[in-house]
């Protein structure tokens, strides 16, 4: 029953963004990404303010506390979380046709989970595995040509798009083996609360790594909401293209118009 409800919800989310534009083209099938619409800007700004309030009251202080832990503990936690995320990255590598990368990531997961003691030590990196790049279902949908739909700000979770939110739902529809093992695994080590705790630690870890950069951005922004939206969308676009920022140059046309010297 729960699965049916989620499936219906995902379908609704995906189809809600699938309206025909004035040119008759379906907005989710457009391959070329232009400006992403902020269809729910009023609501998004309200949710953004709520998230900022939660951040100031809870996440930021917790992240500051987390920063006081010894760096070896933080690195170990971060490594273990990255290792767990491979369980979502590997199926997405396959869905994107990146079989070689899927193989490398599987090898990395096996080495780090065993020799690296549940991923706490990144042994794979030390023995020469290539740099790990996370993948998720939102990126896979993007790679398949599904457009981002409208920009969304989710309560607590933060910036997203219709496509990326749908992608996140795939995790709990069976796409994340860690979620499956936690909720339906019938084992004594994992359960719903362990899964939720992992997600919360993951959020705190991210916040702790970005304490200064987020503060700096907020202090120097005239419209912090718009800055965060721009950075999120640029980041997702780059991740979907799997582009190396030092090689791939985007938005070249905009620069060609500018002449001032």
């Amino acid at each position: 029953m729960k699965k049916i409800l989620i499936t219906v919800l995902v379908s609704l989310i995906l189809t809600s963004g699938t309206y025909a534009d004035t040119d008759g083209q379906n907005s989710l099938s457009k391959k070329k990404q232009g400006k992403i619409k902020d269809c729910f800007e009023g609501l998004n700004r309200a949710t953004f303010s709520l998230n900022q309030g939660l951040d100031k009251a809870i996440f930021k202080p917790v992240a500051k506390g987390y920063r006081n832990l010894p760096s070896s503990v933080r690195t170990g936690t971060s490594n273990a979380l990255n290792n767990l995320s491979s369980l979502v990255t590997i199926p997405n590598n396959i869905l994107q046709g990146e079989f070689k990368t899927a193989g490398v990531n599987t090898g990395r997961f096996v080495v780090n989970t065993t020799v690296g003691v549940l991923g706490v030590f990144n042994v794979a990196q030390k023995i020469g595995f290539s740099k790990y790049e996370k993948e998720d279902y939102g990126q896979t949908l993007g790679k398949w040509g599904v457009g981002p739909g409208c920009y969304l700000v989710l309560p607590v979770l933060g910036p997203s798009t219709v496509r990326d939110t749908a992608g996140s739902f795939i995790n709990i529809l069976g796409g994340d083996p860690y979620y499956n093992a936690s909720t339906h695994g019938n084992n004594e080590f994992l359960n719903d609360s362990v899964y939720m705790t992992t997600k919360v630690i993951s959020g705190v870890d991210f916040r702790a790594k970005n304490l200064e950069s987020i503060d700096n951005l907020e202090k120097n922004s005239m419209d912090f909401y718009a800055s965060v939206r721009s950075l999120y969308l640029q980041d997702r676009q780059q991740k979907i293209k799997n582009s190396n920022p030092t090689i791939e140059i985007m938005y070249e046309g905009d620069w060609e118009e500018v002449e001032s010297q």
């Binding site: 920022p245 030092t246 140059i249 070249e252 500018v258």
Partner: protein, 198 residues
Amino acid sequence: MYPKKLIVLLTFIIISFSSIAKVYSIEPDIFVQSTVNRAAETLGGDLTKDQRIEKLKEIATDTVDINGIGYYTLGNYRKTINDAQLNEYKILFKEYFLKSFASRLAEYSNPEIEVTSKKKLNENYTMVNSVLVATEKRPAVKIDWRVYTKNPNKPMIRDLIIEGLSLARTQKEEFSSIIESNDGDINALFATLKEFIK
């Protein structure tokens, strides 16, 4: 006799000038590294925070094409405003940019940036790639510099791309959001800029 001497003299002058031009043509990667070194020297020195900010503003004025970034940031709106508004915008943008730039950088102490490579995009632009070297507190950060090379003797920085995220683009979308939220009124942007500069 005189014409021959004259020809030799002229040839000498031409050769001298062409080699001077060569000497002063600055490679974008060397330009970025020297700019970064200047900034690092300022940030790592014994200056007070205010002195640092003033020094950083000086470096930015020398090496960043603030007007070019200003035009880019304004996007299509620059075609719809009149000359007086454009002039006002240029003055406000410069102040805004220097304040925001210096304040962002002043937080860092002794950043170590290594220029790694460069890629010529076209006659006007070269992308210089660099890495902000990792410290105990944070991992290494990739920083790319869009250098405007239309005048090879005076390259200018037009954008910083940090881990693939363009600062100029973020700024452009922020400006556009402010104008759009105020029904396309450019004066709303001016008011916000003035508030920020205060």
